[in-house]
Assembly symmetry: C2
């Protein structure tokens, strides 16, 4: 349902092809709603069948033809309804936590490595979000102050999430820390 609505949302901003839709997803919603190319094309087909959008084939010279979709009246209506409806709860799939539940007998050092590696990945993601906040390219597309604010808030959500993860990882590592001998000192 949300994918459907999101496509309508993008097409409301401007008509575009499946290819561009995918780019837009990656660029603006990728962190909280990932999609694959196959999903997009499939959904576009059903949206067109249901007459929520209309596609017009444009000849690309050299490049392949592309089909540019725009919202039909019924699409507008469905988008509006979705926008004002209450949201479903966020759900996540967190393989690390699942692993922890069963990890009591894993070597402490191995577990610590897993946690450390996960932390590094989150830190990388965090840096990526942080750099987005300063990218004018993103906010240049916004058509109003309010839209820019909304987009910024969605990136800041990503930052807050990363910070929470990093804090938790540190705590977990401290509490699960493998007993480590203090570093050897010259016996003198």
């Amino acid at each position: 349902m949300s994918l459907r609505a999101a496509i309508l949302g993008f097409l409301h901003i401007e008509p575009m092809s499946g290819y561009l839709l995918r780019k837009r997803f990656e660029g603006s919603a990728g962190s909280f709603w990932s999609v694959t190319q196959s999903q997009i094309y499939r959904e576009l087909h059903t949206l067109e069948r249901d007459e929520l959008i209309v596609g017009i084939r444009e000849a690309g010279d050299g490049k392949p033809d592309r089909i540019v979709y725009s919202l039909a009246r019924r699409g507008e209506a469905e988008l509006e309804a979705w926008l004002e409806a209450p949201v479903e709860p966020a759900r996540m799939r967190h393989p690390l936590l699942l692993k922890l539940v069963f990890a009591a007998e894993v070597e402490p050092q191995v577990l610590d490595d897993i946690l450390a590696r996960y932390g590094e990945e989150v830190a990388t993601t965090r840096a990526d979000y942080a750099s987005r906040l300063t990218m004018e390219a993103i906010f240049a597309l916004a058509r109003s102050e309010r839209e820019a604010t909304l987009w910024r808030l969605s990136i800041e959500h990503g930052l807050a999430w990363c910070d929470a993860e990093l804090g938790w990882v540190e705590k977990a590592r401290r509490e699960l820390a493998p007993q480590r001998r203090p570093p050897d000192r010259d016996p003198r």
Copy 2:
């Protein structure tokens, strides 16, 4: 893959039926890895076909028969490998954020209601996690201090996530706040 491994993990703790597996999921991993009953039974069938687990039918008098599954050697091996492997990144589906991306023209008051309602739901979830931390029933099942620590950490992750959400919601509401007249005062 993770569902498969998690089932192996539960069966490693003790042999049990599909029904109980589901209970265990809800009780200990539900917040970061939800599953439905159909998924579990399907996975159990393929795990048995692949000879990672073995099911033994037990007659229930009055109650329906149940099939109690336990780990086979190959299942043990796969579980161990999974436990030591690095984790895949967490991914989430966050319908609220998706909505925000397209919500520039939604009435501020409507948007604020959506945010407020979301915040309430998160607060409820948070309270639920907090109460779990004090439930002895959960930790009584743990077979070691370390296991109890791991389980506690997974609950604390949920708390940290809720806190991050709540903080972000407050910030978002402040920045998107609908202009509200100050409350009427008796003109005197």
